[in-house]
């Protein structure tokens, strides 16, 4: 085994900061060290430990697609100590990154199938990597449908990209906001994600559904998907649990014997059903 301090992060320069929604930012990070940049590889669905040196580490997925080389992106909402410190970072600042950790979306197995993405609120970022990965290799897939909902219009993240997807003829985008969250000029749907999904009724034939969102959304979306004919091994989600190390040592992310950091974060609905209720 390589004798390397596994806790030592790569140093990354914040190249670009995008304010996505109140308190939600996307950082584009570039390696300080070119060798590290060249050696770095990841796949859609993996996560990392991002750190503000002096404040600590925080776990987020890698929100950019592996098809876009030379940088990684993360999107986070300001909440705890580390994310508050990240929010104070400016372009040009240096942050730490360890990773990539965890498993990946089985995107190679999905070739020739249609993809249905369903996301709620701040849960679009963990899915964005696989969306872009699919769109950058668009020829491998049949229909691509994205259903994205948030509490209100302001909370929708990646507004520019939503507009891109909207404009693309090869993507069907449905956006929705919770009742009362719409603005006068809102053109999308109004309603909760499960209801909008039921109304849109996308075909389940030869289709994989990728769902990510708050537990309550997941809880009500899965039955709708089953009703639409999706089976438990054609539905995928990505979990998050509190983590410190990212590689199965710190002892807090496990759901029963399954470690979200090692066996996840990507799980099929079939796997999810077998997990004890510890997520």
């Amino acid at each position: 085994m390589e004798e390397k301090n596994i806790y030592k992060p790569y140093l990354m320069r914040v190249e670009k900061i995008t304010l996505e929604a109140p308190g939600v930012r996307t950082f584009r990070l570039k390696f300080e060290n070119e060798e590290e940049a060249n050696a770095f590889e990841f796949k859609a669905g993996q996560f990392g430990e991002y750190s503000v040196i002096g404040e600590g580490e925080s776990t987020f997925c890698i929100a950019s697609s592996p098809t876009r080389k030379g940088y990684i992106e993360c999107t986070y909402r300001e909440a705890g100590r580390v994310t508050s410190a990240l929010a104070k970072c400016e372009e040009g600042d240096v942050v730490g990154f360890r990773g990539p950790y965890g498993n990946t979306f089985p995107i190679d197995e999905w070739k020739g199938k249609s993809l249905l993405f369903i996301a709620g609120g701040i849960a679009l970022p963990p899915m964005r990597c696989v969306i872009w990965n699919a769109l950058d290799t668009r020829e491998n897939f049949k229909d691509v449908t994205i259903l994205y909902g948030a509490k209100n219009v302001g909370d929708l993240v990646y507004k520019n990209e939503l507009a891109d997807w909207e404009a693309r003829p090869d993507v069907k985008l449905i956006t929705t906001v919770d009742p009362g969250g719409q603005t006068p000029d809102w053109k999308g749907e109004v309603g909760f994600v499960p209801a909008v999904l039921e109304k849109a009724a996308p075909s389940s034939e030869n289709t994989v559904a990728i769902v990510c969102g708050p537990p309550i959304m997941i809880k009500f979306t899965l039955p709708v998907l089953e009703k639409l004919g999706f089976t438990e091994d054609t539905i995928y989600t990505t979990l998050e649990n509190r983590m410190k190390c990212g590689f199965g040592k710190c002892g807090r992310c496990n759901c029963g014997p399954v470690y979200v950091c090692k066996d996840g974060p990507v799980f099929s609905y079939k796997q999810l059903k077998a997990l004890p209720d510890e997520y």
Binding site: N5, R242, F247, K249, P257
Partner: protein, 338 residues
């Protein structure tokens, strides 16, 4: 290597001890402190005590200390500079007076820290540690090593194991190359093996259950009220985890000192209510019975399933230290009878 047996006279022990000290190695041994008996740096053999069932804390801190600097950093206007952990500065340490249960505890720790990814800080420290075990002549009601596959004279994990014989002299079993290296410091002290049987000089520890039975039961009773019943009086401190020889859960924190700082690893415990708490306020293990279940399941189900080793060596430290008498042997015995 095969185990080599020798006789080491009672009077030779201090000589051996001094030779080890003189070799420049750091020697930690059980020492009577103001309130407890624990491993500590000792100046001379006279400070070493043999009057203990087990030390209050386990020997694990030699490789997994309660605070570990992972690396240092300096922040400046232009960025950050990281000074990596100096692995070559780790000293050679001899742990003297380690009980067989404690010595066995390094196996599960090692399994955790090398699971797929090698934690070189831990493994380098362990590599540089020599364990001189002393088998047990005494046990108390909290001991249950024999129920989890150990025994009071087990050589597992030790580099040399001493067993006190009826004459007061010691049977020395040299188990590993590291043990041989210690022997080589004073080969003349290691005399021809005694004929006396080792077993009759060991403490008697009754078998209360087997670890396999516990695994079978806990796997079956994940959703059971037994966890609630057992955890009722648990007050959610971290004592059990901190005295445990195999508990490895940790937290990672940054500590600043002006522009300088360290990223450190500190002990943490699955019994703390905040251990799994998400920033959003959601807690996957919201109640103490879930946390207690995690503690037992981790040791007796998840670890054997995932890394092929049980996470309990039966030292009974958690039972002795628990402020509310959460006696693990009692709880496990009850589980085994379910």
């Amino acid at each position: 290597m095969t185990i080599e047996k020798y006789l080491v006279k009672k009077t030779s022990l201090p000589v051996l001890f001094d030779k080890i000290k003189a070799s420049g190695k750091v020697v930690k041994a059980p020492k009577k402190k103001s309130h407890t008996t624990d491993f500590a740096d000792v100046a001379s053999f006279s400070e070493v005590t043999d009057d203990y069932i087990v030390t209050t804390q386990s020997a694990k801190s030699v490789a997994f200390p309660r605070v570990e600097k992972l690396f240092n950093y300096v922040k400046s206007k232009d960025g950050v500079q990281i000074t990596d952990y100096a692995l070559n500065a780790i000293p050679e340490v001899v742990m003297w007076g380690v009980r067989p249960c404690d010595a066995a505890g390094f196996d599960p720790l090692n399994a955790i820290f090398t699971w797929d990814i090698n934690d070189v800080i831990f493994t380098t420290k362990l590599k540089k540690t020599t364990i001189i075990g002393f088998s047990c002549q005494n046990a108390d009601e909290n001991c249950f090593c024999t129920s989890v596959g150990g025994n009071p004279g087990s050589t597992q994990g030790s580099d040399i194991l001493f067993t006190k014989l009826s004459s007061g002299d010691y049977l020395a079993e040299v188990i590993s190359e590291k043990g041989k290296a210690i022997q080589a410091l004073a080969p003349e002290l290691f005399e021809a093996a005694p004929s006396e049987d080792k077993e009759q000089n060991l403490a008697k520890v009754d078998v209360k259950f087997t670890k396999e039975i516990i695994k079978e039961k806990v796997d079956k009773y994940f959703e059971s009220d037994v966890w609630k019943e057992q955890a009722q009086r648990c007050i959610g401190c971290g004592t059990c985890a901190f005295v445990c020889p195999t508990c490895a859960c940790f937290d990672i924190q940054d500590e600043n000192h002006g522009k300088n700082g360290h990223r450190i690893r500190t002990w943490d415990s699955c019994c703390f209510s905040q251990f799994t708490l998400h920033t959003s306020g959601h807690n996957p293990r919201p109640t103490q019975d879930r946390r207690w279940r995690q503690r037992i399941m981790h040791k007796f189900s998840y670890m054997p399933d995932r890394i092929n080793v049980y996470g309990c060596v039966g030292c009974g430290r958690c039972s002795r230290a628990c402020p509310v008498d959460m006696n693990i042997a009692e709880h496990l015995t009850n589980i085994s009878k379910m």
